[in-house]
Amino acid sequence: MPNSVLWAVDLFGRVYTLSTAGQYWELCKDAQLEFKRVSAAMQCCWGIACDNQVYLYMCASDVPIRRREEAYENQRWNPMGGFCEKLLPSDRWSWSDVSGLQHRPLDGVMLPSPHWEWESDWYVDENFGGEPTEKGGWTYAIDFPATYTRDKKWNSCVRRRKWIRYRRYKSRDAWAKIPSKDDPKQLPDPFNDLSVGGWEITEEPIGRLSVWAVSLQGKLWYREDVCHPNPEGSSWSLMDTPGEVAQISCGPHDLLWATLWEGQALVREGINRNNPKGSSWSIVEPPGSENGIMHVSVGVGVVWAVTKDRKVWFRRGVNSHNPCGTSWIEMVGEMLMVNVGLNDQVWGIGCEDRAVYFRQGVTPSELSGKTWKAIVAGRECDRSHSGSSSSLLSAGCFFGDEVKGGGESAPSDTDGSSEVERPELDQPLPSESSDNSRNPDESSASGPGAGRTTEGAVENTCPAEGRGEPGSAKCPNLASSPAELPWTNIDLKEPKKAPGHSAAGFPETTSSQGLLPLGLEESYVLDDHPLWAWVSGGSCAVEAFSVLKWFTVQSGLSPSVQTLSLSLTPAQTAAWRKQIFQQLTERTKRELENFRHYEQAVEQSVWVKTGTLQWWCDWKPHKWVDVRVALEQVTGHDGARDSILFIYYVVHEEEKYIHVFLNEVTVLVPVLNEAKHSFALYTPERTRQRWPVRLAAATEQDMNDWLALLSLSCCESRKVHGRPSPQAIWSITCKGDIFVSEPNPDLEAREHLLPCDQMFWRQMGGHLRVVEANSRGVVWGIGYDHTAWVYTGGYGGGCFQGLASSTSNIYPQSDVKSVYIYENQRWNPVTGYTSRGLPTDRYMWSDATGLQECTKAGTKPPSLQWTWVSDWSVDFSVPGGTDAEGWQYASDFPASYHGYKTMKDFVRRRCWARKCKLVTSGPWLEVAPIALGDVSIIPECPATNRNGHSVALWAVSDKGDVLCRLGVSELNPAGSSWLHVGTDQPFVSVSIGACYQVWAVARDGSAFYRGSVSPSQPAGDCWYHIPSPPKQRLKQVSVGQTSVYTLDENGKSFGGSEGRWNLWYRQGITPSYPQGSSWEHVSNNVRRVSVGPLDQGTCGIAKGSRPATHRAPAGSTCPTMCAECPWGLWISSVTAAMAGRFSRSVFQVWVIADKVQGSHSLSRGTVCHRTGVQPHEPKGQGWDYGIGGGWDHISIRANATRTTWSTSREQEPSAPQETHGPVCC
């Protein structure tokens, strides 16, 4: 994640960030101010600058922070002038807020701070609950306050309309001053410490943060109302504390610790969703009475502390229920401060060397980690200096290791004379000034032993061992300089006064600092390695699997350097690489071309792999039976391979077998569940039966070996290898596994249609929820955790290792999803709600249906690939709403639930969620930082020649923002930046058709059409509201060449049919009226729809007519005509269709459907292809069933290949694709 960075402040107050993917500290973009402390969160960083004021740094994003201001204009009817502003004396203000109680004139609405700007002027909202209003946006009622309707009735005496104006936070990538809490009448009390956290307490409102600050006088302040739409918060509230607070740390969840000047720690109790400020304090005594606590830092479930003697302590037994923990454990290392970041990872600043240390080996099971490792990454600004790598290296050597544990540094490898062990840090250093001793040490490090690296660390993992050598030479200055107090008052403006560790002493010693000889300091300052004062890991996501490049000095060209854009790495374009490929080709030609008739020295033979697996037997009762399996591969001289899989089983002591020809296998699907490593093998016949061959292996490795081998054999027998073609069809199973199929031209033929159960699917590594592709090879995916991914052009990864995987373009990928269980209770008159139900009731802990018992302890992650990453917590975001404790009420199970209790409610339930995480790999790179909910890429016909243009890509963020990606092309499929498209409400789905028609679905279930989108105006100009089908809320839209299909999300059936999720076709779309006229019902039981570019319009259009919305809004004539007007193509093709040229053409409509009947079982989630769709029958006639069940998503939008093109071309010499344009002028 490129936006995952570690923040740090150096001794001179400069703020740097270090990316988890990077190798260099980068100076903060706004370097005007010098800082003392920073505290980072994912999107922002709070800090205290040298002026002791609080500043906020919001990281730049393509999505603006915008906030809607509303005001209502109220009018009353009178017989004289009709509706007018003259209201009755008892009435509300003529300009008011929504309640009518507050006066709110438009020009009285002010920006809250100088960091905001207006987005546009005030305008009238003409959308009323998903329905468009009359022009002017008026809604009518009998009187104020009452129910307002869209329609004016005879008794409508009053009316009102809503005015909207958006404001936008403008201080991005810049430090914005937060107004001080100081009362001008009192003496200023400057801020001393600050901490940001609490983002996991609740997601309501979005991006809510707890910001705590401590003043020099020891007062504690809480910043109210800090959230994503209001990043600055509104005001400071003073909190009561039992003593004077010196320092504070707020964890991501409900932990909040502070230190008192007296050396004890304060622990806040009672922090929860409803009370993020907490309710009371507890006091925790320091580990020893002589050395009080100087600094604390807390995470989700950990507390680390530094005492005044700079020893580091880990608090045992800390969790939500017991925020105080039980006891202190001393850790190895001496630190000035420690900071707990995301995933409870820990950083510290070494007290001796002022280097930033990272605690290695922190895992959920071992929260205290293993060892401190110094971060030796250089600063960006150092990189350009010549010879910097050697000086960096010496710094790396010097700080390269464990703070303690020097005595064990015996070389572990005797032959590696050039390999280097850790530097000898443990020579006794003169205690009066360690600076003195440092110089020779460094020069020796960069001198003869220039080959030193930091590898071969001797890790001292045992805390007790570290304690075994107290007061050794590790921290020699301890004797001379007293312990630091937490308010370390560094004189930031004069760097030379702040050399080394002792410089950061507290006020009493600053005078002695001045006595240090200046020359000495200078030599110290000359040294290139940064000295750090503060570090914050609140936005630094280090995963257990991630490989950080912070600990070795890197330079030059390294093939393993992950460039985070998709541009080719130097290794792939390097001349040497090209030459090797070229020479190998030449060699093969030279040595083989004329000698193919020679006999091969080694005859090809049969190779058999055998093993034992379990097989889900075909007969009843179905169960797993042990089987012997053998894969026989026969390779002919031409390299073609034929493979047969034999499954030997025993019935009635007689061995029998079934066999499968691998060239008939259509797909191999891993089916991982809690207990079994199994996979399913489909042939067309097995697909029709909905009954695959299911095999299970004893271990994951065993399964992966079989899967990889079988998959390789299948691919070879079908001659499919390498990266999928740009036209490939992509799909995803409900387990998040990704499959891809090469389209056959007959797939979209009118006659002799290739049945889609014959499609061959192969798996790609990775884990996704959504995948969308277009025919230029641009493929995007979205994970369950809403992370956006772009396809890198590789193949394999995941369980496909070795030959089944490409060498490059495979990257680690992770995904997070939640597992939900329900707690059910029934009311009884004596005890109220209890977990004792009626005998007929569902389990008191169950799944959503109530049929399966699911307890907190007994519920496992979905498969062995997943591991828990959080504890169970109440999910408040369930549909229907909840009360403050997360309960939903109903009259009985199962019924519809609501978020408040009524007299008739006898049962209640609440939803518990627990996050689990999967780590895999695949040909995907993250497109950070914006998380997405939906994505759509423009489908392109072979007819269109848009090579010059970038590829239009639209998306909806997880927060509902509509986005348009700029700069997407074959070479840069990730694109460059997002363009935010303003909307008046959150959206859920978007789709862009081949003619740049953008359709979208809003969260209220209505559809929108975006006008005037074109290559030159990629974001279009305005939204046209399109009401949803009556009483249905839409949830997804897909636009092909011309046709528009949508899905609704209602449980309500349509037209008496039982089904859910209806598929709708938009009638009456013409170039002059691209919004169409009405919805027509096509089918039910559809979960997802994908419409491809191979469709043709049907409607009659007058020659020369143009889309109405394509006109400039003011009625002026369309400025761009035809050359790039995509409708031109459409019109020409439609005209051609009317002329009969495309009588064979079909629409390309594919869906994921439920309740598909097979001969063995009923399946849920089946890939289906609409058949019989044609100009006169736009709804089609029926479905052709393909692979499934268990499929969740399909994208056929890249497939623009079909045979009919060639035939139509033969009939019509002037192919339509060459004649686009002029028709519409």
Binding site: S560, I580, Q600, S806
Partner: protein, 275 residues
């Protein structure tokens, strides 16, 4: 864009068209026809010449047959060198097919090792593999493998089964993610111009400053005579698998992709052809 995996395939399926002729002094019952064969570059002569042996034995008397050996232009061919190496080193400048003379008499004891059976080849091959892994991973990977994995490596080579071999061999080509390569690169440099059979030294893939070592770095370090001086005329070819990789090629990449099945980079330094 071609994938690096294709290099492995190209290397594995490299073939040298060869014409075997019986040595003129061998006594035959009737005239021995030459025998034509495509030899896998990555294999060993005695492993793939059963057909040749049979072919010539048909025309010979039983009592005249002793251990077969091969010779090219007067040089006995060491069976324990991979075929591709022998060809690059000795015959790459001459035309194809490669003319090899077959002997059954007067085994050159001082030049060649005896090869009593395929077991000898297997033993030699596996010992090379182990030596290579000792250099790359302190033998950790090869030692963690099971006996059947070792067998699969050998059977893969013997039966010319790329998949079978690489299914196991890929593990030998991995290295810890935090490193930039192997510990040392297993390589041998051969020159026809010296008496010494080959050069082999400890050499790391990554320099102390983090820079990746290149083929050029290696040669400058261990065999400086092979590279032409900056301004000088190129006198030698540096050849692996019949191609001349650029001296800028990272050594680690070469080791992963252009090693022979025994996991060594066998590099031939041969004089630049004068034409």
């Amino acid at each position: 864009m071609t994938d690096d995996k294709d290099v492995l395939r190209d290397v594995w399926f490299g073939r040298i068209p060869t014409c075997f002729t019986l040595y003129q002094d061998e006594i035959t019952e009737r005239e021995a026809e030459p025998y034509y064969l495509l030899l896998p570059r990555v294999s060993y002569l005695t492993l793939v010449t059963d057909k040749v042996k049979k072919h010539f034995q048909k025309v010979m008397r039983q009592e005249d047959i002793s251990e077969i050996w091969f010779e090219y232009e007067g040089t006995p061919l060491k069976w324990h060198y991979p075929i591709g190496l022998l060809f690059d080193l000795l015959a790459s400048s001459s035309g194809l097919p490669w003319n090899i003379t077959v002997h059954f008499k007067s085994f050159p004891e001082k030049d060649l090792l005896h090869c009593p059976s395929k077991d000898a080849i297997e033993a030699h091959f596996m010992s090379c593999m182990k030596e290579a892994d000792a250099l790359k991973h302190k033998s950790q990977v090869i030692n963690e493998m099971q006996k059947k994995d070792h067998k699969q490596l050998w059977m893969g080579l013997q039966n010319d089964r790329f998949d079978q071999f690489w299914a196991i061999n890929r593990k030998l080509m991995e290295y810890p993610a935090e490193e930039n390569g192997f510990r040392y690169i297993p390589f041998r440099i051969y020159q026809t111009t010296t008496e010494r059979p080959f050069i082999q030294k400890l050499f790391r893939p990554v320099a102390a400053d983090g820079q990746l070592h290149t083929l050029g770095d290696l040669l400058r370090e261990v065999c400086p005579s092979a590279i032409a001086p900056e301004d000088g005329e190129k006198k030698n070819q540096v050849m692996i698998h019949g191609i001349e990789p650029m001296l800028e090629t990272p050594l680690q990449w070469l080791s992963e992709h252009l090693s022979y099945p025994d996991n060594f980079l066998h590099i031939s330094i041969i004089p630049q052809p004068t034409d």
